[in-house]
């Protein structure tokens, strides 16, 4: 039974503090500077985006609606169980916990991603300058349930990232009566594109758009839960057909330039494609751009389409003539709706009118991975704090 403390030690406080407190803001701002200037983060765009995000100025902006507004403190000690295959996710979870006025035990994946070491080194550096934060953070690595049980028994909230199975298993572990869990389960994401607006785009703007789409999808091999699998085209048949051609041809050029298909990816992509064909008799016609992009043309979107996922650049397309046609397939598994060509108001009305069981984020194409204090439909600022009533 081994446990390794990459940051901090057993002496972790469970004393809450004020959300967006000055000590926490200073620490995160120092961390931002250290991350940015670290020699190992130069080519790690995902780490750099955290550096940008956790600047004091940005965080104050994000906390504006609760700072000094009411009597509020953190819940105390948070136990974070981070996913096994996203190296930087634990930093996001930690920032959320700390900025809301909590202490944090963070379990990182077994796999020794270089990103984890880089980030932990930076955290240690920032902690040396911020003594008041030192007993507020412990980053741990272990592979024994014993520790999961131990930490679960002392924490006030758990942030559980991972698949449905992980969540079910953790639910069986005993926690304090007032412990609260936030479960980030398996989710499914999609995009709606207005065909007319694609047809109006200049070449430059088109390239910008498809580049943004690339970042939403290929950048993480379609494995991010925010990455769209279903591409919904809105418009009349003729326009949709022209817009599709324009969009995919542009994306194809970008994929050719920016995405390195390795032998492993090529082999596994073919395997995924054939598995999809075997499992789902009627996925519709397949359009291929070499083995760079595969697009299944759904005749009708199957009801369980949240289980039909692409990987390495495999997509499913459907066409709608009115927005309400998405009512047929949205379920509680749906997380992020990325969009292009619509005003915010139109989509707001759509959600208000239909009150779907799913869709927790609505963001423009290219912003699917943007960090936020509202995640998966949870308002983290409320969830990780206590609002004290005083009269």
């Amino acid at each position: 039974m081994n446990i390794k403390y990459l940051v901090g030690n057993e002496k972790i406080s469970n004393k809450p503090s004020i959300p967006f407190g000055s000590n926490e803001l200073k620490f995160l701002n120092d961390l931002s500077i250290i991350l940015k200037s670290d020699k190992y983060t130069k080519d790690k765009s995902d780490i750099l985006s955290f550096s940008f995000w956790c600047r004091k100025k940005n965080l104050i902006k994000l906390g504006n609606d609760i700072i000094n507004k009411n009597l509020r403190v953190g819940v105390g000690l948070i136990f974070h169980i981070t996913p096994s295959n996203v190296p930087t996710n634990f930093l996001f979870s930690l920032i959320l916990g700390l900025i809301t006025g909590n202490s944090n035990i963070i379990k990182v994946p077994q796999r020794k991603f270089s990103e984890i070491n880089i980030i932990c080194n930076c955290l240690n550096k920032a902690l040396r300058k911020n003594k008041k934060i030192q007993n507020r953070i412990a980053v741990v690595r272990y592979d024994d349930d014993f520790f999961t049980k131990k930490f679960s028994s002392i924490c006030d909230a758990r942030m559980i990232w991972g698949g449905d199975n992980t969540i079910q298993n953790l639910r069986k572990i005993e926690t304090k009566p007032r412990n609260r869990d936030i479960n980030f389960a398996d989710r499914y994401s999609f995009v709606i594109i207005k065909a007319d607006q694609i047809l109006k785009l200049s070449q430059n703007k088109l390239v910008n758009l498809t580049n943004s789409f690339f970042n939403d999808t290929y950048k993480f091999d379609q494995n991010a839960c925010t990455s769209p699998h279903l591409i919904t085209w809105y418009g009349n048949r003729n326009n949709v057909s022209l817009a599709k051609k324009k969009f995919w041809n542009s994306l194809y050029e970008i994929v050719k330039k920016k995405y390195k298909i390795t032998n492993f990816i090529a082999n596994d992509k073919l395997n995924e494609l054939y598995k999809l064909s075997i499992n789902n008799g009627k996925l519709g016609k397949l359009i291929s751009h070499e083995n760079m992009i595969y697009r299944f043309q759904f005749d009708n979107v199957p009801l369980d389409n949240d289980k039909i996922r692409g990987k390495w650049g495999i997509f499913f397309e459907t066409e709608i003539k009115s927005l309400s046609m998405i009512n047929n397939f949205i379920n509680e598994k749906y997380q992020t709706l990325t969009y292009f060509g619509f005003s915010k108001k139109v989509l707001e009305n759509l959600v208000l009118k239909n009150k779907y069981r799913g869709i927790d984020r609505i963001v423009p194409i290219g912003s699917s991975m943007s960090l936020s204090l509202i995640w998966d439909g949870y308002d983290i600022k409320n969830f990780l704090t206590r609002n004290i009533e005083i009269k």
Partner: protein, 330 residues
């Protein structure tokens, strides 16, 4: 010969398209033109698909044997379903191929493995399938390892005393041959009359900086074993394996097989390294006649006499896995 082989393979593509519903769905999805004659245009299945799905081209009740890849614990294994016809054909083809190496009569056989007593011959793991497949070339079958996996010197000495003064046959998986004949075996044996055939991959050994050449050198120096043949083959295409040429050390295909090398765009490469695609005329009860492997290889074009058999290639190990990124746990 080449045109004849192409025709055979096209026929197999058609057969599996008609008989195997999964194969049919795949070819329909990629809109494959079933009339294609060209060998280079025949479709190929990624080898991992056999781990995922049961695929057969004969009625269920005609399956007489199931071969399994020897996967590591936890990982899924390929399952290959044979009908009588397919099982017999595998044997015939192997016998025909081994003619180049073996004399007509059976040889005393030393097997570098444990005696697989009481095993279910209907569900065979690749390692056992190899032993059984090659057993037909041997007699006086003797297993080198005891139940605990240690060298059984009593068995070995008996075999050595009685049979080693004439030609004899040694068979085993590459990693077991390394573990036992190279590392563990005491030095006082002379295997000058031995013929070693081994296969099954170098993955476990490569980390120890042992390649084919060093493997041979050590065995020659240590036990005077000179005739050593490596072979390349997958459980998905049992029978039509690729033996190593004695002179130039390339693997050669035969009238039963052909190899293509494909790049990451899945285009055929004439020169340089890429993924090995293996084509075989043997699989009839399952759609495994054309497979994209996870091995990296390269075609060989030297003037060695082995070119009479078919096209030749070298194997450079497994494809490198990419790190999977994202936040789904699937």
């Amino acid at each position: 010969m080449s045109a004849q082989f192409s025709k055979k393979i096209k026929k197999l593509t058609n057969l599996h398209f008609k008989k195997c519903s999964e194969y049919n769905k795949i070819l329909n999805t990629i809109d494959y033109n079933i009339k294609n004659e060209d060998l280079e245009l025949q479709p190929f299945l990624p080898v991992n698909l056999f781990k995922y799905k049961k695929m057969i081209s004969v009625p269920e009740n005609e399956i007489v044997k199931v071969l399994q890849s020897s996967g590591t614990t936890g990982s899924k294994r390929s399952k290959i379903y044979l009908d009588h016809n397919n099982a017999v054909n595998q044997k015939k083809v192997l016998i025909d191929l081994a003619k180049n190496i073996f004399p007509q009569s059976r040889l005393p056989m030393l097997i570098i493995d444990q005696n697989p007593n009481n095993i279910d011959k209907k569900n065979l793991e690749a390692r056992l399938a190899g032993i059984f497949g090659f057993s037909i070339f041997g007699k006086n079958h003797t297993y080198l390892l005891d139940k605990k996996g240690n060298i059984n010197y009593k068995n070995l000495n008996f075999f050595y005393k009685n049979y080693s003064s004439n030609k004899f046959f040694i068979f085993g998986f590459t990693s077991l041959v390394y573990e036992n004949l190279i590392k563990k075996l005491k030095n006082n044996y002379d295997f000058k009359n031995g013929i070693l055939i081994h296969g099954g991959g170098w993955k476990k050994i490569e980390s120890k900086k042992i390649n084919n050449k060093r493997f041979k050198d050590i065995l020659r120096k240590k036990i005077n074993l000179k005739k050593i043949y490596n072979y390349y083959g997958l459980v998905e295409q049992t029978g039509s394996i690729f033996f190593e040429c004695e002179k130039c050390n390339s693997f050669y295909s035969t009238k039963y097989s052909k190899v293509f090398i494909r790049d990451a765009k899945l285009n055929i490469l004439k020169k340089g390294k890429g993924m090995i695609q293996i084509i075989s005329s043997v699989p009839v009860s399952y759609p495994g006649h054309s497979i994209l492997t996870e091995d990296i290889g390269e075609l060989v074009f030297n003037n060695c006499s082995c070119k009479k058999y078919g096209n030749r290639f070298k194997v450079h190990g497994r494809i490198e896995k990419s790190e999977i990124r994202g936040c789904s746990n699937i």
